[in-house]
Symmetry: C2
Subunit: 217 residues, 2 copies
């Protein structure tokens, strides 16, 4: 037994820093997170953060690149299995889009909060979205357009944006619905949440397309 008691200590320093940064960034935001707090949580010297990631911005970008790569790889893999001509193609596309961020690839609540913050943050976050999420977004909008022949590109893009918003509310505050109706803080069932989210997003985009058709005709 010459292994350290703390299992996080057996990881390379670089991974411990990324994990610690993910937690601290998620709790305090980019500006509120201190390099000192990250180094203490990772149990490394503060200077080591700059050796591995050059700057605070570089560390932030590395945290996002790690998770977004896994999330989007899983999204694309699931999307490629969808038959876009099937009657429930919209549901299957939305499932491919919305499930990975809530599953193991999503990195749990810590990265979930960072992911949510990307959508509402300033220039730095906007650049991260453009680099790491927009290419995948275009793939999904294209798939939704094929699954919904006759819908305008605009209404599909807005529906996509609304669906991501519903996802963001879920990863950022998955306890708020329960609190608002006075439910106990029981363990949340990921599959049940994804099922509701997919039903909502699919029904929502179908209704938005139908409303557009109704008002245009």
């Amino acid at each position: 037994m010459n292994q350290p008691a703390d299992p996080s200590r057996i990881l390379p320093a670089r991974d411990r820093i990324l994990n610690a940064a993910e937690v601290v960034f998620s709790e305090d935001g980019f500006s509120g997170a201190a390099m000192k707090a990250i180094s203490q949580r990772a149990e490394v010297a503060q200077g080591l953060l700059h050796y591995h990631f050059a700057s605070k911005d570089g560390l932030y970008a590395a945290v996002i690149a790690r998770r977004s790569g896994r999330i989007n790889a899983e999204r694309i893999a699931r999307l490629e299995k969808v038959d876009l001509a099937a009657p429930d193609a919209v549901e299957r596309i939305m499932d491919a889009l919305l499930r990975p961020p809530l599953g193991p690839a999503g990195g749990g609540r810590a990265y979930g909060r960072i992911f949510a913050g990307l959508l509402v943050g300033g220039e730095r976050d906007r650049a991260m979205v453009t680099e790491h999420y927009d290419p995948t977004a275009r793939r999904f909008i294209e798939a939704l357009s094929r699954a919904c022949p006759g819908a305008s590109a605009q209404v599909v893009a807005w529906g996509y944006s609304f669906a991501i918003g519903a996802l963001v509310a879920t990863v950022a505050r998955d306890d708020r619905p329960g609190r608002l109706v006075g439910a106990g803080t029981g363990a949340l069932d990921i599959d049940a949440i994804v099922a509701r989210l997919v039903s909502f997003a699919s029904g929502g985009i179908r209704a938005a397309i139908a409303a557009e058709r109704g008002s245009t005709t």
Copy 2:
């Protein structure tokens, strides 16, 4: 003509500070916003911020209290005019919920970004939501429950949360849908956006309720 040229200068210093703080907080977040930057934008001495609002936290709370009061007053006024037994009650409730933050009471893009950040931020933002938004949220969830007899309180609360998420995505990044489909940066029509958002949220919550019914039966 002894009035200053800048119309913002004719406002009392307290209001100029609130307006400046709204912009700076929206661009840089709470931690990233500097009291010095706010004082410079408001064209007042930095010490005056502490005279009027005691602390940075106090100023932040005042910015949120000002807008949330107007938004929720308009929401409740609109909600009280809705006939909960009408066939389109869900659409009318969603319109009452989602339109005010995007209209004049919402304070424009600056407060919109702060509003969006409240949903994803840390403890400070969570406390702001609890104080300024949760009471109104409970009113709307109750109205939705009455308009959807037979739906569980849980699915209604989740549908409410998803709808707020779609709203948040809209106020935070109303140009992203256009960018993702390569549309020009034309002026956005608020009424058209609200119409799509209301259709999406209403169709979404109806679909989530229908899915629950189908899987439970």
